[in-house]
Amino acid sequence: MWTWIHKLGSPPHFYRISARLTPWFSWAALLLIVAGAYGGLYVAPADYQQLDGFRIIYVHVPSASLSLFIYVNMALAAAVGLIWRIKLAHAVAAACAPIGASFTFLALATGSIWAKPMWGTWWVWDARLTSELVLLFLYFGYMALRAAIDDDTRADRASALLAIIGVINVPIIKYSVEWWNTLHQPATISKMGKPSMDFDMLVWLLVMLAGFMCFFAAILLTRVRAEVLLRSRGQKWLRNTVEGS
């Protein structure tokens, strides 16, 4: 078990394994997302209040939960890289950031598209939307710091520390924003997600979520492979692998 994990930390080994895993995740993602989209858009019954408008949650909720999941993932990878000095873990953290930022943006965009017909405006200073926006800023800060440092190892370690500081702050930001929101606005809105969902609706949401997870895994593996290629350029194993195949 441990040797398997140790082996995974070596770039050549990871490069080989990820090449085999990526198609599996990609096909699983495609199948699950197509099935989930079909189920969510045609099979699931319309909401009694929001009618068909609620169907955007099949994109909104998976991207919102992934945006947070990826941030925690990034911080974990960063911590592993910082503590055990595994270069590959840093590559994973670096690859997570743009994906996470994209999902955060997607969650914000679908949220405001949903808000237009439901609440009448594109943007409301709702607790969830606001903390999602702050999360987007955290991603931007991470990517900006990484981009500002030229030296690879220093960029890795500095941004890893930033990700860890950020992940400690995420719950504080979330609860402070919620507290601010309940004080400021009467609880007229933001009922979304909370009420118990009908099973017919929920099951497609879970399918969609699994599909998004597989999609994330496939994209992550591809990005980390690209990162490994970039970092190991000029190394012997890479030449052997590329020329051998």
Binding site: V134, F137, L138, F140, G141, A144, L145, A148, I149, R154, R157, A158, L161, L162, I164, I165, G166, I168, N169, I172, I173, S176, V177, W179, W180, L183
Partner: protein
């Protein structure tokens, strides 16, 4: 030679930084001037009606304090890193976290405390009700050390970079957003006659958290930057 104890080293460091700061009085006043000038901009840009100013006063005071501390964080470690003092601190037998905490404490005394002391005047200029002033001062006294500590950790991360300024604000602002929320809400609650003690407790809790964690983050960041 005897190695000074931790407490002695801490006070010596604070004293040194204060002495250095008092020899450059001009730089000392910059964040304070900035704080006052930003608050002056609002009556000029908006309408100087007392009613309107009173309504926006809590937000203006807190945003201005946040921006002033952002400006101050920039110069926290730069000089010491440039002239090699920081390398000596990193090599010294005392833990780097403690020394950086001492530097941040001195920094707060120079840039944070004046904001707290000046805040009643700014509050008066913005027609903040008298009753809300003590709460605002207490909240600022709790919040400005947090801003200094978080600013210190981020300044340590970016100190080696040539183009630090814009980046630093991008790193600090999302992290300190809860401080702004609790602080402005404390002022707001005192204005509307509610009991602001809950918000103050939350600020105090954040201060304790920042004091216990950020020195280590600062030290780790500084070691990465010095590499």
């Amino acid at each position: 030679m005897d190695i000074p104890g931790l407490g002695t080293a801490f006070w010596l460091q604070v004293k040194r930084d204060l002495q250095l700061a008092f020899r450059h009085m001009g730089q000392l006043a910059n964040p304070l001037m900035f704080f006052i000038m930003v608050t002056t901009l609002f009556p000029l840009a908006l309408n100087p009606m007392p009613k309107l100013l009173e309504a926006i006063a809590p937000g203006v005071v807190w945003v201005a304090a946040l921006l002033a501390s952002l400006l101050a964080a920039e110069g926290l470690f730069r000089q010491d890193v440039d002239d090699g003092t920081m390398e000596q601190l990193a090599l010294s037998p005392q833990p780097l976290a403690l020394m950086l905490l001492a530097k941040t404490a001195a920094h707060w005394l120079i840039t944070g405390l004046p904001l707290v002391i000046m805040s009643p005047i700014v509050a008066y200029a913005l027609f903040l009700p008298r009753g809300a002033v003590p709460t605002t001062m207490a909240a600022l006294a709790l919040a400005t050390p947090i801003l200094s500590l978080v600013g210190g950790a981020m300044a340590a991360l970016t100190v080696g970079l040539r183009r630090g300024g814009g980046l630093l604000s991008l790193l600090i602002l999302p992290i300190v957003m809860p401080v702004l929320i609790f602080g402005a809400r404390a002022t707001d609650m005192a204005m509307t006659g509610m009991d602001p003690v809950g918000a103050l407790y939350l600020l105090a809790a954040l201060l304790l958290l920042a004091m216990s964690l950020t020195p280590f983050a600062m030290a780790a960041a500084m070691r990465i930057s010095l590499d």
